[in-house]
């Protein structure tokens, strides 16, 4: 039974991997990867790693892949098909065929090496079914077992990984924010901007008088030169004519001095 399951899962995993690599349309690639991950979860189960298998399905095949699908859908354009939009140009700047052949050779070489290393290593144990295993509530691979390890022996790694996730999340927000990208005109730190209510007298407000708030409250209006001006001159004030304001007003607006 386990042998059957293994072969099913192994064939699924390998064919999923092949699908990821060879399918032209990224959307199908993602789907193939989902299949691959599910098969892999099955293999994990066969290896008595219940908790990891569950994480694989829930987090990996679930959450992460959904993220992929979202991005693929987002990047895709309505006018062209998903595949068209994402398909790269006809021929690459370098000899694409040559690199492809070389890559295949390299990948094959690595595969051969790995197989020799793993299987020809002379390890007796890999020819067997592994260590003895007795089912039970706290036995090898159960959530209780993993949790115990994670929160005792590997606590540091656990914490570091959680910090890494946090940093990655912040990084992703910064990277993908609305007017993101380096070298564009609004280079302020977004989170700081978000947390600051208007007119609370920050240093930046004090320095630039009203300009700061005005310019950023109406980003689109401000960009278009011939946009109709709704009222006389908040924008002109924003354009640096702060000398036009009398000093009292200025101190009022930048009250935090």
């Amino acid at each position: 039974m386990s042998a059957v399951l293994f072969f099913l899962a192994a064939i699924g995993a390998i064919s999923g991997a092949v699908g990821v690599v060879v399918l032209r349309d990224p959307f199908y690639s993602v789907l193939a990867l989902v299949g691959h991950l599910l098969s892999l979860a099955l293999l994990f189960l066969l290896l008595r790693a219940e908790f990891v298998a569950a994480v694989q399905v829930v987090v990996y095949a679930g959450a992460v892949m959904v993220l992929y699908v979202f991005v693929v859908a987002y990047v895709g354009d309505s006018s062209t098909s998903l595949g068209e939009r994402l398909r790269p140009g006809v021929s690459g700047p370098t000899g694409g065929a040559r690199l492809r052949l070389g890559s295949a050779l390299l990948g094959g070489a690595v595969l051969v090496e790995l197989l020799i290393a793993l299987l020809g290593s002379g390890l007796k144990a890999i020819g067997e079914y592994g260590a003895p295993y007795a089912p039970g509530p706290k036995t090898y691979g159960t959530p209780a077992y993993i949790g115990n390890l994670l929160l005792t022996r590997f606590l540091l790694a656990f914490e570091i990984a959680s910090f890494l996730l946090l940093i990655a999340a912040v990084g992703a927000v910064v990277l993908a924010r609305r007017r993101g990208g380096l070298g564009e005109e609004s280079e302020e730190l977004v989170p700081l901007r978000l947390t600051r209510p208007r007119g609370t007298g920050t240093m930046a407000e004090g320095v630039s008088s009203l300009a700061f708030a005005t310019a950023h409250d109406r980003p689109t209006d401000f960009q278009v030169p011939d946009a109709p001006e709704p009222e006389p001159e908040p924008a002109a004030v924003g354009a640096g004519a702060s000398s036009a304001i009398d000093p009292e007003q200025r101190t009022d607006s930048g009250g935090g001095w």
Binding site: V71, V75, L119, G130, L175
Partner: protein, 99 residues
């Protein structure tokens, strides 16, 4: 099945992923192929953990998954940023770091 089978599968998956990274030009697919490589490694880790009857390998696999999630996070963020700036989604076109 003996552990050796699992290891063989992991090697094949890893090699497929590596080949994909080298051949595909769509950054999304490159990321997917990276996932493949990580998963290949994960499988080997868990197989060895089974072999020794020890949970350490599983923990390492979990950490690898976490790192993979981070990498996906940043990678997808970058892809979105690239898309926003109307650049081609092609790793061969994105070569501003050329020396």
């Amino acid at each position: 099945m003996s552990i050796a089978w699992y290891l063989a599968v992991s090697a094949i998956v890893f090699a497929l992923g590596a080949g994909g990274v080298m051949t595909r030009r769509n950054p999304l697919v490159v990321l997917l192929c990276l996932e493949l490589m990580l998963n290949g490694a994960n499988l080997a880790l868990i197989a060895f953990a089974r072999m020794w009857g020890n949970g350490d390998g599983q923990i390492l696999a979990l950490i690898v998954m976490t790192v993979a999630a981070c990498e996906v996070c940043i990678g997808l963020g970058m892809i979105v940023a690239i898309y926003r700036r109307n650049l081609a989604l092609d790793v061969d076109e994105l070569r501003e770091l050329q020396g």
